[in-house]
């Protein structure tokens, strides 16, 4: 198992796109959160009544322990960046025909899929580490008085990891099946940014929220909207409480879907012509 990771690292460490992704994630995670933090600071740091109302309503979403949830939610929007890398790493193998060569050289077909599973794990871990770092810095900076509450709501770190891994798994599946980098990337971008969002919204009104079972939405719901959203009236509060309460249920769905995708990849790869 360790040797698989070592070999994948040989492939990844000199792959420019990996370092590009890391650089972009390093910029976007703090960048997006900074943007929101700036808007937040603007809205509370005034002398107007409205500013005080805003402060009362919002609390400080970037202070400990809320920072874990807020930063996780805002950063998870950028799943698209590591997804591009995951899709490139699998479609590269088809493009270079190294998916054949790895087998010829002595991997089993299962080992090949496992090596890709490790790629997705490694990228999820790197993203989670970046998120943890950004959330900690915001927590320390936003409200030093709350430092002693840093250990609350730490569950958002594993939840962020699980969501990232689950959504990158969907990206992997698309690359694994479509094989061509640009078609897979285009399809994933279109599906993630447009198609599923429309479908979820449409199904929410037309059916009993069946959109919750769409592949990315399932894991979107393990990181619900941040807590400050519950302060805009009773409906919002009900909705927030309900979505937090639904996390365990969607966690189970996420596990089932992710495991099913990987099982399917193993099954397919073992039987098909390469």
């Amino acid at each position: 198992m360790f040797s698989l990771i070592k070999i994948e690292w040989l492939k990844i460490k000199k792959y420019p796109a990996f370092w590009w992704m890391l650089a972009i994630v390093t910029l976007t995670y703090p960048g997006t959160n900074m943007m929101f933090y700036y808007i937040y600071s603007k809205s509370i740091n005034g002398k107007e009544v409205a500013n005080n109302v805003a402060k009362m309503l919002l609390g400080n979403p970037f202070a400990f322990p809320e920072t874990w949830h807020t930063v996780a939610f805002l950063s998870s929007v950028f799943i698209i960046i590591p997804s591009i890398l995951v899709i490139m790493l699998v479609t590269n193998e088809y493009n270079y025909k190294t998916h054949r060569q790895n087998i010829i050289d002595g991997w089993s077909r299962n080992q090949f899929v496992t090596s890709k599973l490790f790629d997705v794990l490694i990228i999820s871990l790197v993203s989670t580490m970046m998120f943890t770092l950004v959330a900690s810095i915001f927590g320390m900076y936003a409200d030093p008085d709350n430092l002693n509450r840093w250990a609350e709501q730490l569950q958002y770190i594993p939840l962020f990891f699980i969501q990232t891994f689950a959504q990158l798994t969907v990206a992997f599946l698309i690359g694994f099946l479509i094989k061509k980098a640009f078609i897979a990337l285009g399809f994933f971008l279109f599906y993630d940014l447009i198609l599923e969002k429309i479908a979820v919204g449409y199904l929410r009104f037309k059916t009993d929220d069946l959109g919750r079972f769409l592949p990315l939405e399932i894991s979107n719901r393990i990181l619900p909207w941040p807590a400050f959203t519950n302060r805009f009236g009773k409906d919002a509060k009900d909705w927030y409480v309900k979505s937090v309460a639904a996390i365990p249920e969607f966690l189970i769905y996420t596990f089932i879907l992710t495991a099913a995708i990987w099982a399917f990849c193993y099954y397919l790869h073992k039987r098909r012509d390469l």
């Binding site: 040797s3 070592k6 070999i7 040989l10 492939k11 000199k14 792959y15 420019p16 590269n92 270079y96 025909k97 190294t98 054949r100 060569q101 790895n102 087998i103 010829i104 050289d105 002595g106 991997w107 089993s108 077909r109 080992q111 039987r271 098909r272 012509d273 390469l274």
Partner: protein, 298 residues
């Protein structure tokens, strides 16, 4: 001695197209085994199946007496169809991956094979910057890595210049002398004729013939004769017993005998006793090319 590779009744189809039809043969240890056939005859499909890239519809194969597995593949240095490497990595980094997967070779042997295939100077350049011939050399280098006991080359001289082709031919001869078993698919007959000990000929998925080169390719002895008076020579030869057929062209006459039976001295004596002095008498085997056309033509 147990064959290195034995193939039993392999069939493979892609939809309606039957790429391989019940193919069976064996590759003995130490053989240089040429797999011949026109484009689309199923050579690469065959090699892909025994390397677990494609799944056969029926039939089995054994390497070293065992069913094919990752462990058996690690003992075979293979170049299948095209050089498959990570474009953004250098030759050295690519071979490190080959070495890590196969367990063959180490840093020192990576340098050594790069010298053998003449890529040492460019060892740190990205694969994507290589010419076609250099890519092919790297693929051969990867197959040689760690000195495996069996080598499998699919069109090894693809993309190489004439010097490169000659070098690969020499390399194969050297490897054969070291006792390695070499399986080589090619449509370059000349190449196969010069290095192979065994041969299998395929056409449209069917195995036409397989066995030692001498048996498969030379089922006739051809004696080529010439003298000053070819008319008289012909009439004298027609009285010689035991030949299968006789043919002539402008400069010589050919007598055909069953394989291994041409009595050169007796022919020479017969001519001389009948007043013919020969200025040429040569025993020829049928060339691979003519045999190949004979076998693969409809």
């Amino acid at each position: 001695m147990e064959p290195i590779l034995s193939i039993e009744g392999i069939s493979k189809s892609y939809g309606n197209i039957q790429a391989l039809k019940n193919v069976s043969y064996e590759v003995p240890q130490g053989a240089v085994f040429g797999l011949l056939g026109p484009n689309g005859s199923g050579k690469t499909t065959m090699l892909s199946i025994i390397l677990d890239i494609l799944k056969a519809n029926s039939g089995t194969f054994k390497w070293f007496g065992n069913p094919g597995s990752p462990e058996t593949r690690k003992r075979i240095g293979s170049l299948l169809e095209t050089p498959n490497f990570y474009h953004y990595l250098s030759a050295v980094d690519n071979l490190k991956i080959t070495s890590a997967i196969s367990g063959r070779g180490n840093d020192q042997s990576i340098e050594d094979v790069l010298k053998v295939v003449k890529l040492y100077e460019r060892r740190n350049s990205r694969f994507s910057t290589y010419s076609l011939g250099m890519k092919q050399r790297l693929a051969i280098g990867a197959a040689l890595l760690g000195n495996p006991e069996v080598l499998l080359f699919d069109e090894p001289t693809n993309g190489l210049d004439p010097v490169g082709i000659a070098e690969i031919r020499e390399l194969i001869k050297v490897l054969a002398k070291q006792g390695k078993t070499i399986i080589m698919a090619s449509h370059l007959l000349d190449e196969v004729e010069k290095v192979c000990t065994h041969v299998a000929i395929m056409k449209r998925g069917t195995l036409l013939a397989a066995g030692p080169v001498n048996e498969v390719l030379a089922n006739e002895d051809i004696v080529e004769l010439a003298s000053e008076n070819s008319l008289k020579l012909k009439s004298v030869l027609e009285t010689f017993p035991g030949y299968l057929s006789i043919s002539e062209n402008d400069s010589f006459i050919q007598l055909h005998f069953p394989f291994g039976t041409a009595p050169m001295e007796a022919i020479n004596k017969h001519c001389f006793e009948n007043g013919i002095v020969l200025n040429q008498i040569i025993l020829k085997k049928k060339s691979l090319e003519s045999k190949f056309f004979e076998l693969t033509n409809d």
